[in-house]
């Protein structure tokens, strides 16, 4: 039911772990099936230098986490905030309809981590980016 790309990221996940002196931490739980994802980022200038994840969840959730951390490396914060759930799912060659909600987890955790970084810097949040388009309602 999963694409080869999903299975590849599930079997050989990129960037597993936790950055000890992280600049931003994003921890989200999936209200639908009770899964948890934690993304930590390191920022240099306005670019994401490093990103790592830890995930408690299904194969799709692990692949999504891996893909998000890969997509985000080297991106500016602006660009990173542009990464949508759909973009993550597309990069994985698609997810089964029942698993689309898992892709929310990745983009949400990333946004939380960036939000955390920006807050720690005492900067203003670009409000519009954080409206709640990430509802976990099952499709």
């Amino acid at each position: 039911m999963y694409t080869d790309k999903v299975m590849d990221h599930f079997t050989n996940p990129r960037n597993v772990g936790e950055i000890q002196d992280a600049d931003g931490v994003g921890l989200v739980g999936n209200p639908i099936c009770g899964d948890v994802m934690k993304i930590t980022i390191k920022v240099e200038g306005d670019r994401i230098k490093d990103a790592k994840f830890k995930t408690f969840g299904c194969g799709a959730a692990i692949a999504v986490s891996s893909m998000v951390t890969e997509l985000v490396l080297g991106k500016t914060l602006e660009e990173a905030l542009e990464i949508s759930n759909k973009a993550v799912a597309d990069a994985l060659g698609g997810l089964p309809p029942k698993k689309m909600h898992c892709s929310n987890l990745g983009a949400d955790a990333l946004k939380k981590a960036i939000e955390d970084y920006i807050e720690k810097q005492g900067k203003d949040l670009p409000e519009s980016r954080f409206d709640s388009g990430q509802g976990c309602e099952d499709s």
Partner: protein, 408 residues
């Protein structure tokens, strides 16, 4: 790659002899058992013989056996059939929270049609307390339906004790024996039940054929209307090949039940011991001894079942899980929740169900592969770092006690 099939509770590999016995009925011996000429009589004779075999295997009379399209259909027929046939006497049904959905959803549909239902709780082993059954009986109760053994955690229920209570109160008692038939001895008279469901593909027979045993004299409203087949109790031209296959599979299973139970119990306990010894933060689900000979069900803390299944599949091991992520409904298994497991623990469940082909080498292979898979997933889990510190463990005292007593 080696294939280690440990999902025999989902379905089993049909025996070669069963497949061969079925073939003529998909070819030369194609007669309709209800017709009059010789090839029809030949099919009818095969049907009668099959009915006799099934009856013999469970100590019933042949005319008490109704063949059906699946275990699910047998359950539906039993519950709806009894409820509607006796609704003028009462409209209350007692069942348990851990039944298969074939039973649960049949009862829930009846609830929407004006019946009342009680879903009895179970203890932490997944066991129904006969005292709870007795306490739930009212003047309005017409049916009790409690499964013989649970498909997820393997716990064998105190059917005889419940049957005794049902009889004292004059209430009909159905048991879903889909997981036990062909695996542990079934004697309907000794069990004391009034109706019993079974399914061919769980004991190395074909899929899509089951049977309901209804004790002589018990009224069941017809559930599928049409022709007069199955003694006018279940319409539809019989699945002769399937029925012949089911009957032979059951006959063969009954013939080797004793050795096979002993062999599987040993393998199962070897697996349970190996897993609980080699992997920390694991618990056995279900009763340590009153369980199906082939069922080993675990919860691994800090990880999720679907990712565990995918990892096992990568090394050729087939299992199943009650995790929310594997269920279409995104809710963890109702059985594990009813046993009091918290959501996040139920999430990490793994059922390995052994069968006729399972060898000690297979179990050795699982014990070799599983610890590495679990630690790899734990290393990926945000809860994984807490594994070594017991203070971070969220289980209650009682749960720790449970794990310990399971291991002994």
């Amino acid at each position: 790659m080696k294939l280690v099939y440990l999902d025999n509770a989902a379905t089993t590999k049909p025996r070669q002899a069963v497949a061969e016995a079925m073939l003529p009925f998909l070819g030369e011996r194609y007669g309709n058992p209800s017709s009059i000429y010789s090839i029809a009589r030949d099919a009818k004779a095969a049907l009668d013989e099959a009915r006799g075999k099934v009856a013999k295997a469970i100590n019933a009379h042949p005319e008490e056996i109704i063949f059906a399209g699946s275990g699910t259909e047998a359950d539906n027929m039993a519950i709806k059939g009894v409820a509607y046939a006796h609704s003028r006497r009462g409209k209350h049904i007692i069942t348990s929270a851990i039944e298969h959905h074939a039973v649960l959803d049949s009862v829930k549909r009846l609830e929407r049609r004006g019946f009342q239902a009680t879903f009895l709780p179970v203890d932490s082993y997944g066991m129904v307390d006969p005292k709870d059954v007795e306490a739930a009986i009212t003047d309005d109760t017409v049916l009790i339906s409690i499964m013989h053994a649970n498909n997820e955690v393997g716990t064998i229920q105190p059917i005889e004790a419940i049957a005794h209570i049902a009889k004292n109160h004059g209430v009909l008692f159905h048991t879903d024996a889909v997981q036990t038939t062909g695996h542990i001895p079934i004697d309907v008279r000794q069990l004391g039940v009034d109706l019993l469901s079974l399914s061919g593909h769980k004991f190395k027979g074909p899929k899509g054929v089951g049977a309901l045993w209804v004790k002589k004299g018990v009224k069941v409203e017809r559930y599928i209307d049409g022709g007069g087949q199955e003694g006018n109790r279940r319409a539809g031209t019989e699945n002769v090949a399937g029925i012949v296959g089911l009957a032979l599979a059951l006959e063969l299973a009954a013939g080797e039940l004793e050795q096979e139970t002993a062999r599987l119990t040993k393998l199962r306990d070897y697996l349970i011991k190996g897993v609980t010894e080699r992997i920390p933060h694991v618990r056995l689900n279900g009763h340590p001894t009153k369980r199906l000979p082939g069922n080993a069900s675990f919860c691994f803390e800090f990880i999720e079942g679907e990712s565990l299944l995918l990892s096992l599949d990568k090394v050729g091991i087939c299992g199943s899980s009650g995790s929310a992520c594997t269920s279409g409904s995104l809710e963890p298994s109702h059985v594990l929740l009813a046993m009091g497991l918290p959501h996040e623990i139920a999430h990490g469940s793994l059922r390995l169900s052994l069968g006729h082909e399972t060898t000690p080498q297979d179990i050795g292979y699982v014990l070799e592969m599983l610890p590495g898979i679990v630690s790899r997933l734990r290393a990926m889990s945000p809860f994984g770092e807490e594994v070594s510190s017991s203070s971070a463990c969220s289980c209650t005292q009682e749960e720790h006690h449970l794990v310990k007593s399971h291991q002994s």
